[in-house]
Amino acid sequence: MTFTAPVLSYALLSPMLILLGGALIGVLVEAFVSKALRPAVQLTLTLGSILLSFMQLWRIRGEQSLTAAMGSVVFDGPAALLQGSILIIAFISVFLIADTENFTALAAALPGSDEERHALQSGNQVTEVYPLTLFAVSGMLLFPVANDLITLFVALEMLSLPLYLMAGLSRRRRLASQESALKYFLLGAFSSAFFLFGAAYLYGFSSSISFSGIREAIVGGGGNDVLLLIGIAFLSIGLLFKVGAVPFHAWSPDVYQGAPTPVTAFMAAATKVAAFGAMLRIYYTVFANAQWSWTPVLSGIAIVTMLLGSLVAIAQRDVKRMLAYSSIAHAGFLLSGVIALNKAGLDATIFYLLAYGIATVGAFAVVTLVRDSSGEVTDLNRWRGLGKRSPFAATTFALFLLAFAGIPMTSGFIGKFSIFSAAYESGAKGVVIAGVLSSAIAAFFYIRVIVLMFFTDATEDGTSVEIPSILTRATVIIAAVITVALGVYPAPLLNFITDLAIFIR
């Protein structure tokens, strides 16, 4: 019996490997570098490895349609684009995370205990969040390029587990933070159980764990459809949970609110990209030929998601919760891109993911700016008159809201237009109409916030806006610039996507 060594083609894996390397070093730094230097070192390390991996990604973007690690990872145009988006978002999110003000000095210490206080006073700030971020990012990179069920599952957990922990790291309102971690974890695990069960049935149906194998089985037909359908259904649950689609959305408002805002920004933006990336690959390649079974159901979910997200957002009084619901609504919009199941849909979804992700990071970045003595202020009523006290925060936040609302001249509009037209092209008129309708509803509450900030006068307990750290300011500005640029002249990016985004099967 001859044994051939597996070909891994490291070049294609390198973006992920670099990040993992960075993460491991980060762990060592956490252990051995003096607490004075630690934050700086960690930050440079994290940014550095993200940058490096991005450069590597840029180098290899051309080498399309290659599979790596014995075909368990596929690297094609969409993969490059999605990984690129994730890295960009991660990069600017790290700027926010760098503002340690948000994170507990010592996660292990009891809330309000002397231990904690002491850690805080002695400036003994643990910075495990950086390596965790890197682990999560590498998982996210792996998620959309996974080419078999094992890799997919591993990637899913790789990106989830760090996030569960990061959600619990808030310095203020720690109980809420921990609670959000718990909820996120339990529900996440719960859904991944469904995911795994679905995977099992797909394997049972196709007697293969590789996507190509499953796809062939579907194309060939003749298998036991019951297995297939249960497989699709349960696998979808896992993915829909990650993107926060109704009725698997319940976790997101609580977690978004409880988690430290930088983390919220990071997961709201990056997780969506990763999860939708995976969805695109799976539904566009693997399940494409079983579309008769799942498109209608997914359309239904998309519609419900848009409407419910928009409607409930109206009634929110907390900025972060409102953004959470708005992100639910956007999940619905994005789903219509998945349903489209055509080239236009693919391009549109990828564009939308990047545009939306960046705007989201920007929006949450602004939220981190609005503070008073006891930390961030997320109660909308205390945002009254923000326009007067902090034109910068108010204006940029308004810009991001308009982008969410899909007002022309912002990236959001181009995204909405392209994704809806793709859906319409595929004949999903109902989804488009629901989309338009919920956009109208959504506009209602975005505008309400703008009115709050600009047209009403501050209540006596006025929120003070602390001078933002350079990095946070940078994040906001970068996000704003990109949001406008993509709205005014999106042609280059769109062309780039159109040329690159072709799945290999």
Partner: protein
């Protein structure tokens, strides 16, 4: 003996686990139920692997165990922190965040 019976067992286990998650209050128990579901999935992997006569399913099962182990680490960490700060492991007590 017909292998499909194992599938019924695994489906049963999965259901028990799922229901358990919904009905039990203690975070640890809830987590155990989830583990149960994972193992149900594993069982069907193995069964299918037997039915299909290839090893992929079993490989998958191994991976699952590893991942589950990681999950336990993270999960217990979180649950323990909560327990320490709340002096209770009931998932219903943790309901600050709502509406």
């Amino acid at each position: 003996m017909d292998a499909s019976n194992y599938l019924y067992v695994s489906a049963l286990l999965f259901t028990i686990g799922a229901v358990g998650v919904v009905v039990r209050r203690n975070a640890i128990v809830v987590f155990m139920c989830i583990e149960l579901m994972l193992n149900a999935a594993n069982l069907s992997f193995v069964t299918f692997s037997r039915i299909n006569g290839d090893l992929d399913g079993q490989v998958m099962a191994f991976f699952t165990m590893v991942v589950a182990a990681c999950e336990v680490v993270v999960g217990l960490a979180i649950i323990v922190t909560i327990y320490r700060s709340r002096r209770s492991a009931s998932v219903d007590d943790a309901s600050l965040l709502k509406r």
